[in-house]
Symmetry: C2
Subunit: 530 residues, 2 copies
C-alpha cells in the first residue's frame, strides 16, 4: 500500500504545493518515504466548513447508526492488517507486540463507544411533565437531554499512534456523541495517520455519510493547529501532549470571540507514596513493579510514576538497593522521536543537576543516539530539596524517576499538599498502613484524577468507571475524562424542550420511551413511559 | 433590625476604614442607610483562605448533612420575615408580591438542592469490579464518582436580589455539591445581601460548620471581583450579569496560571418566531402573551423576548395593531438601578436610530426619571435591516422588544442561522404549522439552551429537566445550566478509585451501596450491591 502524503479533506485529497515534511524511523534515524504536504490555510478552513455542514446531518443520526459507523471504522482499521503495524513500528520505534495490543485497544474502544451510543442512556434524559393545575403557577412540560456540540478538532498524540491519534479515544468519543471530527495528524507518524484516516474515510463512505464527517490535516505546528482552534465552526478541541502546546491551544480557544472548551491532557508526575508496612513485607516486589511501570513504553506514558516518596530506614535501604540493581539491568530503548529523546535528556540533566539530587542508578548500557535511545535511570533526593526546587516536580517524559526520602509521614502530607494537579496518585499500603493511608488518600484525591491503592499507575483501563483527567496542569478541564465512556460527555451539551408536542421531540425524550432509555422522570430514574 | 454595612468573613465582620458606598431607592432616588464598607485586598484573600480551609472539612459531610445545612439556610431566610422583603423592595424597586414569590423560589430552590444532595445519586457513581482472570491482562477494581471542586466564588446578580444573589441558585448548588462559597455582594442591594448573608452565617453556626464555609464581600467592581477570581484557592466562579462583566471574569480566570471554569450567564435576546397558522387562530392572544412577557419585571429578565419574527400579511397587521394598543396602555415602572435605566435608554435609542427601524408603539405615560422608570416600547424592522445591522441583535435590558418582518419562512431560517447563542428560542405554532416548525426548531436548538413551542420564555422553572444556559454569549459554558438540579454538576469533578479496599472508599462507591444510590455497575444502572 503506497502512501500519498496528502491531507484528507471531506473524502478528497488535499493539494500538493506547500511545505513538505517526512517521518523518520527513530530506531535507524532513516528518512521514511513519502513526503507529506502541509495543508494551506484555505484547506484548513474548507475542512471545518465541511465539518459544520456535515454536522447538520450527522447529529441527527440515531445512536444505532452512529454505532454502526464506529464499528465500521474498527473493521476498516483491522483490514489494514500488518501494513498498519509495520508503518507504525517504523515511525515510532514501538515494538510490534505493543502496537498489536494498541490496535486491539483502539478497536475495542471504538466498539465500546458504539455500545454506549447504541444503548443511548448516556444522554441523561430528564422529564418533568406539565402540572397544569399547580398553584400559584402551572408548570410547563420540560424535557432535557444531551445533544452533540458540533465539529471537534482532535490533535493526534505522539505516544499512542493508534489509541490516542487519528481514530483514538478523542475521535471515537466525539463521533459517538454525534460530533464531526477534523484531526490534526501528528507529524511523527504521518503515514500511520494516513492509513487510519483512510480507514475512517472508507467507513464514512460505506455508511453513506457526508464526507465532511471526517477530515485529517497535515501541517506545521502552531499555524495550522491554532487556525483549527480559532476557526468559527470549531466547538471543542481534544489534545494530548506537552504542557506548552496544550496551554497554547487553551489560550487560543479562550481568547476567541466565542470561547470553546479545550480538553488538553498535558503533564503529570504520578506520585507514588510507599507506606512502611508495605515496604517491610514487599519492598522488593514494589521495586520490581516500579521499574516495570516507569520504563514501560520507554517511560513515554502520561501515567509514568515520576516521583516516589519513601521513609528513611532499613526497608527503604533494601528497596533502593533492589531498585538500583534492577535499573542497572534495564536496557536502553528507542524513544518515539529525536526531539522527545533530546527533551528527555535535557530535563533529566536539569533535575539531576539540582543541588541535593544524586543519580542513584542508570542502565548499564548507554543510549545509542543513532537509535534514538533513552537510558533508564533513577535519582534520589530529600523532601527538603524537593520542596525547595519546583523543577524537581516537572515531568521528564521518558524512563526516569525520582525517589524522595522523607523522615516522617508528616513530610508525606507536606509533599502531597505541595503537588500540582496529577492524572494519578498511588499509595502502596498494607492493611497495617491503612490508618495512616486514609488521610493521605484524602489529600491525594484533591490533587489527582485517579487514586490507586497498590498497583501502578500505567495501564489505563477503557471502561465506564475510568477517569483519566485531573486538576491543572494534568489537564485543562478537571471536570472531564479523556479515557473511558464518560469521555463522550466532553462533546455534548444539554438542551431543554418546553411544551414541545411528542411528535416533534427526539426519540430520547418521547413519552413512550421508544429507545428504552433510563431517564430521570420527576427526578426518579426509570425506564417507564413518561 | 439595623444593618452594619460590613463584609462577612468566615463568621466575623469585616473592618471599616476603606471606601464606602450606599444603596439607593430607585423608586424615590433617595439614599438608603447605612454606608457599606468595601473589603480590603487582605480581607478578600483571608476569606478565600478560610474557604479553602473549611472546604477540607465541609467536603467530607454526608449528603444528609449538606441537606440539613441548606434547609437551615431556608428557615433562617424565612425567619427574616418582612424585614428582608422591605429592604429588598427599597433597594430594587421590585414590588412586594414579586419579592414574596422570589423568596419562596429561593427557599424552594434551597430545599430542592437539599433533596438531591440527600438522595445522593447525582454523584454518578460507576463501578467496574476487578476481573483478575481476564486475558491478556487482568482488570483492576475501578470506581468513579463526582466530588466537589473546592471554594466557589459567586457574584450576586442585580435582577434577582434573592433567587440569584447571596443564597441564590449558584450558592445553593455549590453548597449542595459540597463546595464552600465566597459571595461578592451586589452593590445595588447590599442591605438585602447583608440580611441574607447573616441568615447563612447563622445556619453555618447552627450546623456546627467551620465559619469559612461562607463569606460575603462588599466591594468595588473589578478590583475586588477580579481578585476573588484570581485567588489561587478559587476553583470555580458563578456569575449572572452583563456580557462585558462576564467576559472580564472569564478572561481573568482563563489567564490564571491554573485556569478555572467561569459559569457566566450574560446576554440573550430570546427570539420568538410566529408561524402563520398560529397567527391566524390566536394572533391577539400571542400579542397579549408577548406584552406580558417582555414587560414582566420591567423587562429585566435574562429570558425577556427581545426579538419577534413574523411574516407579513393581514394576520400580522392585526397582531401589530393589537400589540401596539397593549403597549400604549402598559405603565412605565421603576427599574432596578439608575445605571440599568440609563443603559436601557441608551441601547433602545441606539437600536431605534438604525435606518429602517421604526418605533411602533410606546407606553402612553413617559418615564419619570426621579422614579428611575423604564417606558415599555416596541419597534419594527425588516429581515433585510436586521441581518445588515448586528446592533439590532444586542440586548436592551428593559421593557423593549423588536419585531422583524419577514416575507418567507426561508427568511426565518436565515435569521435563525444568523443568531448568536441564546438562553431560549420560542416558536409559536399550531398543528398546521408543525411541518414548517420542525426544521426551525432543529436550527434553533443549535443556537439556544431551551427551545419552546408556544408559551413564553420568561418564567424559568427550578426542576430536574430545566436547562438555563446556552451557547456563547448567552453563557461562557454551554455544557452547564445555572437553574435546576443539574446546576450542581458545575461544581463537581470525577475521581476514580483504583483497587481501594471497601473500608477506605466513600460510601457512595462501597460494595454494599449503603446510601442506596442508583449506580452504573459494569455499565448498567442498578441500586444493587456491587
Amino acid at each position: 500500500m503506497s502512501l500519498h502524503g496528502l491531507s484528507l479533506l471531506a473524502g478528497a485529497h488535499g493539494a500538493t504545493g506547500g511545505k513538505t515534511f517526512h517521518a523518520i524511523n527513530p530506531a535507524t534515524s532513516e528518512r521514511l518515504a513519502p513526503d507529506f504536504h502541509e495543508a494551506s490555510a484555505a484547506e484548513v478552513s474548507a475542512a471545518l466548513d465541511a465539518s459544520a455542514a456535515a454536522f447538520a446531518i450527522y447529529r441527527t443520526l440515531s445512536g444505532a447508526d452512529r454505532a454502526k459507523f464506529l464499528e465500521t471504522i474498527a473493521t476498516e482499521i483491522e483490514a489494514l492488517g500488518d501494513t498498519l503495524l509495520q508503518r507504525a513500528h517504523a515511525e515510532t520505534g514501538l515494538p510490534l507486540p505493543r502496537l498489536t495490543g494498541e490496535r486491539a485497544r483502539t478497536c475495542g474502544q471504538l466498539r465500546l463507544f458504539a455500545s454506549v451510543a447504541r444503548e443511548g442512556s448516556w444522554v441523561d434524559a430528564r422529564i418533568d411533565p406539565a402540572l397544569p393545575d399547580r398553584q400559584p403557577l402551572p408548570r410547563p412540560d420540560l424535557r432535557r437531554m444531551l445533544i452533540p456540540l458540533g465539529p471537534v478538532v482532535v490533535f493526534g498524540s505522539s505516544n499512542f499512534p493508534l489509541a490516542f491519534s487519528v481514530a483514538g479515544g478523542d475521535t471515537a468519543s466525539a463521533f459517538a456523541a454525534g460530533c464531526t471530527v477534523v484531526v490534526k495528524a501528528h507529524r511523527a507518524h504521518a503515514g500511520t495517520a494516513e492509513l487510519v484516516g483512510g480507514a475512517i474515510t472508507r467507513a464514512v463512505a460505506a455508511c453513506g455519510l457526508p464526507g465532511g464527517v471526517f477530515s485529517m490535516i497535515h501541517g506545521g505546528g502552531a499555524t495550522v493547529g491554532i487556525a483549527m482552534v480559532k476557526h468559527p465552526a470549531t466547538t471543542a478541541v481534544g489534545f494530548t501532549g506537552s504542557h506548552a502546546a496544550g496551554r497554547a491551544l487553551f489560550d487560543a480557544a479562550a481568547s476567541r470571540p466565542h470561547p470553546i472548551p479545550v480538553f488538553a491532557e498535558m503533564s503529570s508526575l504520578n506520585p507514588v507514596f510507599l507506606m512502611p508496612a508495605a515496604m517491610s513485607t514487599r519492598g522488593a516486589a514494589i521495586a520490581q513493579g516500579l521499574l516495570t511501570s516507569f520504563t514501560l513504553g520507554v517511560g513515554q506514558f502520561c501515567t509514568k510514576p515520576g516521583l516516589i516518596f519513601t521513609l528513611r530506614g532499613p526497608d527503604t535501604d533494601a528497596f533502593l538497593a533492589k531498585l538500583s540493581e534492577l535499573v542497572r539491568t534495564a536496557p536502553s530503548a528507542t524513544m518515539l522521536t529525536g526531539s522527545i529523546c533530546d527533551a528527555f535528556s535535557e530535563r533529566r540533566e536539569k533535575i539531576t543537576s539540582v543541588p541535593g539530587v544524586t543519580l542513584l542508578a542508570a542502565g548499564a548500557h548507554a543510549a545509542n543516539p543513532a537509535k534514538t535511545e533513552g537510558q533508564p535511570s533513577v535519582a534520589i533526593t530529600s523532601v527538603k530539596h524537593f520542596l525547595a526546587h519546583p523543577v524537581l516536580a516537572t515531568e521528564a517524559f521518558g524512563p526516569f524517576t525520582l525517589v524522595i526520602m522523607a523522615d516522617t509521614l508528616a513530610e508525606f502530607a507536606a509533599c502531597a499538599a505541595a503537588l500540582e494537579g496529577q492524572l494519578t496518585a498511588t499509595v502502596q499500603a498494607d492493611p497495617a498502613d491503612h490508618a495512616d493511608a486514609r488521610p493521605l488518600l484524602a489529600a491525594l484525591e484533591q490533587r489527582a484524577g485517579r487514586v490507586l491503592l497498590n498497583g501502578f499507575p500505567t495501564g489505563v483501563e477503557v471502561c465506564h468507571a475510568m477517569n483519566h483527567g485531573g486538576p491543572y496542569p494534568a489537564t485543562t478541564d478537571v471536570r472531564y475524562t479523556s479515557v473511558g465512556t464518560a469521555a463522550m460527555l466532553r462533546f455534548a451539551r444539554p438542551v431543554c424542550y418546553q411544551s414541545i408536542p411528542d411528535a416533534l421531540l427526539p426519540d430520547a425524550v418521547k413519552n413512550a420511551n421508544p429507545l428504552g432509555l433510563v431517564r430521570l422522570v420527576e427526578g426518579k430514574p426509570s425506564r417507564d413511559s413518561a
